[in-house]
């Protein structure tokens, strides 16, 4: 029955590219040296890590020594926020962020609030955009950090990062951006955009899971995250995960080489999907900004039905898609992002996120577009609310 799998959830994770896997493989059993060892086997590992660092730096316009590898994007976010907060506590205790950040940011901010910091959660407009003026207005004498995501994981909205960076620089406040969803999809230059700290995660751009990086602009006051050995120049102790670091380096290099072509491909799929869904299914709402949007992101709310049922039925048809945030057990809670853009509770429960990637084809999209209207129709026929509305 389930004879195919169409993977439309690239914002959740991506497959490791064959070239990336190939680059990683020698560092498991053959070149297994500890990068801190002085003999050649160790030096070989060290060299591989530094090459990956160069590639990562090049991809975002940074210097190599400003790149620090971490165990994940979440770790990079935690480090950036807690590290800047604690290192600059004497200067101030106020942090500015938005209501639509990833939980890695929101829960870290909430933790800091419990430790005496003050956090402003900026609202967003109906498309999920933060206006630079509200950022400017929120800055106070005790503001030490602005952390605003580059692009939203649920609705794909890309924030005016350059403008926010300019304001932060002008006011002398550190600016961190969680770019986990953006890297590989958007061209990023930390200098042009006045970004002081940036988080990224390899598995979002066809690299392995369990490896991320934090860019820290030279001169930024930040505490170390893990205390121990001298790895990552003493700022993030832990024996390096060499193979994963190499994978990240290879993946980010390929991603930046391909970014234009990748965008073109994804935009075609995305726009076709948006147009067809809007054309063929009534009572739908596109969530997120129509243009300032990640190239592979489609997010629709279907009135009168629960996203949960929709996802399960798509799964039964072999289509892997996603919704808002999944809670601890894997069931769906109303999305804080959809609530923040003003959707009522019952609709915030039911959105469908499709995120396209490298291996998707037009034929796969057509299968989805053929399948979806019937599923939505069926679920609506069972919905008492829809029966009332249809009359």
């Amino acid at each position: 029955m389930k004879d195919r799998l169409i993977y439309l959830d690239h914002a959740a994770t991506t497959p490791v590219k064959p070239e990336v896997l190939e680059a990683m493989l020698p560092y498991f059993s053959q070149k297994f040296g500890n990068a801190s060892s002085i003999y050649s086997l160790g030096r070989e590992s060290k060299k591989a890590i530094e090459e990956a660092r160069d590639r990562t730096a090049a991809a975002i316009g940074a210097q190599s020594k400003e790149i620090f590898f971490t165990g994940s994007g979440t770790e990079a976010d935690n480090w950036a926020i807690k590290g800047v907060a604690y290192a600059n506590r004497k200067k101030g205790n106020h942090i500015i962020t938005t209501a639509i950040e990833h939980h890695a940011i929101l829960h870290t901010c909430q933790y800091l609030e419990s430790d005496g910091f003050e956090v402003t959660y900026l609202p967003v407009d109906g498309n999920g955009l933060v206006t630079p003026d509200t950022v400017r207005a929120a800055i106070k004498p005790n503001t030490i950090l602005i952390t605003i995501m580059f692009a939203n994981n649920e609705i794909g909205t890309i924030q005016p990062i350059s403008e926010i960076g300019k304001i932060a620089k002008e006011k002398g406040v550190y600016f961190h951006t969680d770019a986990v969803q953006a890297v590989g999809n958007v061209k990023i230059n930390v200098d042009d955009m006045n970004i002081d700290l940036l988080s990224l995660s390899a598995h979002k751009f066809y690299g392995p899971k369990g490896i991320g990086a934090l860019y820290i602009r030279k001169g930024t006051k930040i505490t170390s995250f893990l205390h121990g050995g001298a790895q990552e120049r003493g700022r993030r102790a832990s024996t390096e995960n060499v193979a994963a670091v190499v994978g990240l380096g290879k993946a980010i290099e390929l991603a930046s080489q391909n970014v234009d072509e990748y965008n073109k491909k994804l935009l075609a799929l995305r726009d076709h999907a948006i147009e067809e869904i809007q054309k063929n299914i009534p009572f739908v709402r596109l969530n997120g900004d129509r243009t300032s949007r990640l190239p592979g992101n489609v997010n629709f709310s279907f009135e009168f039905i629960e996203g949960e049922s929709l996802l399960l039925m798509l799964d039964m048809k072999g289509i892997a898609a996603s919704s808002g945030s999944a809670c601890t057990s894997g069931s769906l809670d109303p999305s804080h992002v959809l609530l923040a853009i003003g959707l009522p509770h019952e609709i915030a429960h039911g959105s469908l996120r499709l995120t396209f990637g490298e291996e998707n084809t037009r034929e796969e999209l057509d299968y989805l577009l053929d399948t979806l209207p019937a599923i939505v129709q069926r679920l609506r026929e069972m919905s008492p609310l829809y029966q009332v509305a249809a009359r």
């Binding site: 057990s329 894997g330 069931s331 809670d333 679920l379 069972m382 919905s383």
Partner: protein, 361 residues
């Protein structure tokens, strides 16, 4: 692939629902396992709670069983409806001086209503659960009947008396035909690691079984101390608020009288808890409302039944008689101890559930 139909099976990771999955597969159904996410959001510490059919550990266990059996498994969110129909009902009843049965409400509104609706909307033919009860179609009366499980000691029909004909027609309870021993044996045969898991008990969403604290923490209710009186209205002392008491209660009253005293009545309007002696806690009859009949369409004349007035009570010989619309009077052959408003009374004829209702007084 032909199948006898698609079934959405509620799974807790425990023996009963896991064996139910195996039996359904064996019978040729296409099985989709689900666990309902029903508890309100809690902080990390309380999430560790191991009890109940829908805890986080239940999710882990159920997922493992589903993987082992090779069936699809999902976690579905029913938090809103559970809060409204089970938790709010539960706290509301205590505040009214009554003693609710939240498991019956959960079966009625969540498992066999919300879950069933979701299953049907997703193209399923049935929902199934690991309840110890049997659903059989009676060609003579053209009705679905609910019968006691083959293992009488495990029988759960008391908590299922609200099921309608529509719900029964769409529900499978595959372990109802088996004894508890046979169920454990099947669990062992298919290699379930859960065979030693204890049965779930108590109210799944109330930690430590401390209802009073749960109500104070989860509602606007303010403790309203009042008087203990005897059955003639003489004040005997002060109590800490009616939510802390239930009919028939002897322990934990906070005062002693030199002889055993029992709660015989709770009066919400005056915040009074009436105490009486052993004989005063027995009743000869009761009135029930919010009725549902399974084996018959409605009660039109008196019938002799066995009546069960709480989950753990023994069945008692009684005659039920329709009184004013939507109510029945249950008259017991011998007086029954602690007839408690808010609890269900379920009527049996042999091993068949005739119907039931909620005790009013």
């Amino acid at each position: 692939m032909s199948s006898k139909g698609k079934v959405m099976l509620g799974m807790s990771g425990g023996v009963d629902s896991s064996v139910a999955a195996a039996i359904l597969l064996e019978k040729g159904y296409e099985v989709f396992g689900v666990t309902m996410q029903i508890w309100p959001d809690m902080d990390g510490d309380r999430q560790k709670n191991e009890g109940g059919c829908c805890s986080l550990s239940a999710v882990d266990d159920a997922r493992r069983v589903a993987d082992m059996l090779g069936i699809s498994y999902y976690v579905l969110n029913f938090k809103d409806i559970f809060k409204e129909k089970v938790i709010d009902y539960f706290t509301g009843e205590y505040i009214k001086g009554r003693t609710p049965n939240p498991c019956i409400a959960c079966n009625r509104y969540v498992k066999f209503d919300a879950l069933l609706q979701k299953a049907v909307s997703m193209g399923m033919d049935y929902v199934a659960t690991g309840h110890y009860a049997r659903i059989v179609y009676d060609h003579f009366s053209k009705r679905f009947l609910l019968r006691k499980s083959a293992t009488e000691s495990k029988d759960q029909t008391y908590a299922l008396y609200t099921l309608t004909q529509h719900q029964l027609s769409r529900t499978l309870m595959p372990i109802g035909d088996f004894t508890k021993e046979k169920v454990r044996e099947i669990a062992g045969e298919i290699g379930l690691m859960v065979a030693s898991k204890p049965d779930s008990q108590e109210i799944c969403f109330v930690e430590d079984n401390d209802y009073g604290r749960f109500i104070c923490e989860n509602t606007d209710y303010k403790a309203a101390p009042g008087n203990f009186t005897d059955t003639s209205g003489n004040i005997l002392g002060r109590h800490k608020g009616i939510i802390h008491y239930t009919i028939g209660q002897r322990k934990g009253l906070g005062i002693t009288f030199g002889k055993p005293m029992y709660v015989v009545e709770i009066d919400e309007s005056t915040d009074t808890v009436v105490l009486g002696n052993e004989s005063e806690v027995f009743s000869e009859n009761l009135i029930a409302s919010d009725l549902n009949f399974i084996a018959i369409d409605k009660l039109e004349y008196s019938r002799r039944v066995k009546a069960k007035i709480r989950y753990s009570a023994k069945e008692a010989d009684a005659v039920i008689k329709p009184v004013e619309t939507g109510r029945v009077e249950v008259r017991f052959d011998a007086p029954q101890r602690a007839v408690t408003p808010g609890q269900a009374v379920v009527f049996y004829e042999g091993d068949m559930v005739l119907g039931g209702g909620i005790i009013e007084r």
